[in-house]
Amino acid sequence: MPLLAALHERFAGERPFEGLSIAACLHITAETAMLVRLLRAGGAAVSLAASNPLSTQDDIAAALALNHEIAVFARAGVDRRGYYRHIELALGHAQPHLVIDDGGDLVNTLHTRAAALLPNVLGGCESTTTGVIRLRRMAAEGALAFPVIAANDTATKRMVDNTCGTGQSAVDGILRATNTLLAGKTVVVAGFGASGHGVAEYARGFGAQVIVTEVDPVRALDASLRGFRVLPMVQAAPLGEVFVTATGSVDVINADHLTVMRDGAILANAGHFDVEIDVRALAGLATQVHHDVRPHVDAYDLGDGRTLLLLAEGRVVNLVAAEGHPPEVMDLAFGIEALALAWLAGNTGKLPAGVHEVPADIDAEAAGLVLATTGTSIDTPTTAQLAYRESWRIGS
């Protein structure tokens, strides 16, 4: 992760978080370890909880706690109550000035069960689309008490993290879980946002015929012009052999769809929460459920000769059945987040409560640093070009 390595070195010298405490709620993976160590190197005291009860890699959690002065509250496979308890513990331990969230559960907890800590909080970053949507709803109701930078929502991150990272790793998760050959299969991708677009492109790259479902006409047109077949889910359901949800919405695959699916259809979710596939409806339709027929594959026997295969219990398949985004992707995502957090630390009180974009120069700085680590050089505009860009007088 060359970007984080470069920032580690810079922050160790500049110490932008000196005297500050940071609470983070993130998938506990090797990439996250790099981020929290870099924050620590920049002078912060760091508490860390998991942002998903299934994605914690216990060895990483142990190493951070033992060797790297991070207060970790996470264990793989805890139940829902344990999951929220860990977040509360991390918040209580940190008494945070800054927060990093992934999905909004930490910020939500901070505004509800841990509201006493709110006055101390200067601001934070949110890593994922689902979290940002939630935060915007909070802000719209006036409930958000501090400024949050939507770190997921930069041009660079959408491109690299959602499209490339989710695209590659969601397909990776499906392959690891099922070992199915994608070539020749019909793959239905629900949602053609940045992530769904990536999943659709990578599935096509494997030789699948890809059908896209959408509710947004702009994205549907985009999918269509890129050569994907666009259908309503109710029409796609009987055609698909592999289904991947990437919408950020709820009940995208519901009982109506499940009842018409083909025998052996594979159901996977690449969205953040486990609500995109109506797992409860699936359980209701099934006469029998065979858990873990392969790791992360549950077979739902519908009693009419058809069996549907649900991956990762409907949770985010790229993290549960594979290893999440490859390090290069998380390098950029976390690099932007670290830069944004350092900027927040140096500009406290300048932003009102609410959701804010990452300043464009931070996005550009991160992209530039990544290019530099790969040895890629780019052009610099000339003075004449800069002047032309600023001018309205020069035409054809």
Binding site: A183, G184, F206, G207, L225, G227, R229
Partner: protein, 481 residues
């Protein structure tokens, strides 16, 4: 040659300057031919060769012709199709790089766009008739017409005369017989002498190769032949990469329709169909494939295409392309059930893949010419379809066929095959041959630099390990590229 025979026959010599400019552009895109010119500049392996060429008289062919002359050959040329001549190319070849329209110094070329069949066979005979009345000693053929003409001439000389045509003979055969009858009367024994001195023919295309194998099998082939068509660097490039390029070009020039988001149907998933499907997908179309061969059908499915029958999808497709090599693939009944303004085109060799005759006979159908090679056919129910190039090869009818780079591969094979047959005559007893693999590899090698390709080199140990020579050939004969 009788004194009244013309030195060349082209449409308009004043087009030569335009043709020369296009030839210069094409030379840059034909690195194989230019490399061959350089390689053989001093050794002049075709010195003494009198080559008669019968091949589409285009700009790319002009670069081929001038490569043959650069290697020392004398050349006479006719086109192998009545419509395919580019008149500016023919003019530039007749004028030559050093001549002017008032003082042409090029080679004898007999070709113009829109010949009648009589004119076509006259041109072929002129190209085969050398000063002094001799024949050529080499033939470069595309479709086999020049080879057919000299073989039939010799056959009828042996038989003592040209047979009378029977009533159901095609018009073209009657014309050939008439021409040979006159030739035998004026120049007895000419074609027997010619076939005796011809060292061999190099054949460009499937149809001509088929004829050659038939003649070899029947024992009537009079000189050796090299089948250029089946060189990998010819057939793959023509069929896959050439059509991948020119299909889209033809559709766009014909209709200017946005391909992204459309549903395109490709009938046939051979090399041509593979190239077509890939380019349509690359433009953002959703591509459906039809196939009769289970292997090709499975290939298409593995490549991510929907494979369906024409009947099942005919009413949902926006663009139809036939690439099967078979007849009656799209019938008038299919066309009657297509979407309004569906585009229908063919990229297979012959014009029978789409049943145009059946369409014309459909009760109440109306044809409106939108522009040359683009017709709208309207059915009585009011829906119309757009047919490209009247069902003939749309990449040639609506666009300009294969691009120079593709033809450079084909034609470099031609030149190398000519050098083989002319300089190693003893090694090729009468029969039909393909170019040895090392020469196929050489053709590819000559095109790498232009693309900036850096080739890796086998070590001696690696070469031994897989049992090949360090310098190739790298693959066994049966290898499928």
């Amino acid at each position: 040659m009788s004194a009244d025979q013309p030195p060349y026959l082209v449409a308009d010599l004043s087009l030569a300057a335009f043709g020369r400019k296009e030839i210069q552009l094409a030379e840059h895109e034909m690195p194989g031919l230019m490399a061959v010119r350089e390689e053989y500049a001093s050794s002049q392996p075709l010195r003494g060769a009198r080559i008669t060429g019968s091949l589409h008289m285009t700009i790319q062919t002009a670069v081929l012709i001038e490569t043959l002359t650069a290697l020392g050959a004398q050349v006479r040329w006719a086109s192998c199709n009545i419509f395919s001549t580019q008149d500016h190319a023919a003019a530039a070849v007749a004028v030559g790089p050093d001549g002017t329209p008032d003082d042409p110094k090029g080679i004898p070329v007999f070709a113009w766009k829109g010949e009648s069949l009589e004119e076509y066979w006259h041109c072929t005979e002129l190209a085969l008739t050398w000063p002094g009345g001799d024949g050529p000693n080499m033939i470069l053929d595309d479709g086999g017409d020049a080879t057919l003409f000299v073989h039939k001439g010799a056959e009828y000389e042996q038989a003592g005369g040209v047979p009378s045509p029977s009533e159901d003979d095609p018009e073209e055969w009657v014309i050939i017989l008439d021409r040979l009858r006159n030739s035998l009367a004026d120049h007895p024994g000419k074609w027997t002498r010619a076939t005796g001195s011809i060292k061999g023919v190099t054949e460009e295309t499937t149809t001509g190769v088929h004829r050659l194998y038939e003649m070899a099998k029947a024992g009537t082939l009079l000189f050796p032949a090299i089948n250029v068509n089946d060189s990998v660097t010819k057939s793959k490039f023509d069929n896959k990469y050439g059509c991948r390029h020119s299909l889209i070009d033809g559709i766009k020039r014909g209709t200017d329709v946005l391909i992204g988001g459309k549903v395109a149907l490709v009938c046939g998933y051979g090399d041509v169909g593979k190239g077509c499907a890939e380019s349509l997908r690359g433009q953002g179309a959703r591509v459906i494939v039809t196939e009769v061969d289970p292997i090709c059908a499975l290939q298409a499915a593995m490549d991510g295409y929907q494979v369906a029958t024409l009947e099942d999808v005919v009413s949902t497709v926006d663009i139809f392309v036939t690439a099967t090599g078979n007849r009656d693939v799209i019938t008038a009944d299919h066309m009657s059930r297509m979407k309004h303004q569906a585009i229908v085109g063919n990229i297979g060799h012959f014009d029978n893949e789409i049943d145009m005759a059946g369409l014309a006979k459909w009760q109440g159908v109306r044809r409106v010419i939108i522009k040359p090679q683009v017709d709208e056919w309207t059915f009585p129910d009011g829906h119309g379809i757009i047919v490209l190039s009247e069902g003939r090869l749309l990449n040639l009818g609506n666009a300009t066929g294969h691009p120079s780079f593709v033809m450079s591969n084909s034609f470099t094979n031609q030149v190398i095959a000519q050098v083989e047959l002319f300089t190693k005559t003893a090694e090729y007893p009468i029969g039909v041959y393909t170019l040895p693999k090392h020469l196929d590899e050489k053709v590819a090698r000559l095109h790498l630099d232009a693309l900036g390709v850096r080739l890796s080199q086998l070590t001696k140990e690696q070469a031994d390990y897989i049992g090949v020579s360090v310098d190739g050939p790298y693959k066994p004969e049966h290898y499928r590229y």
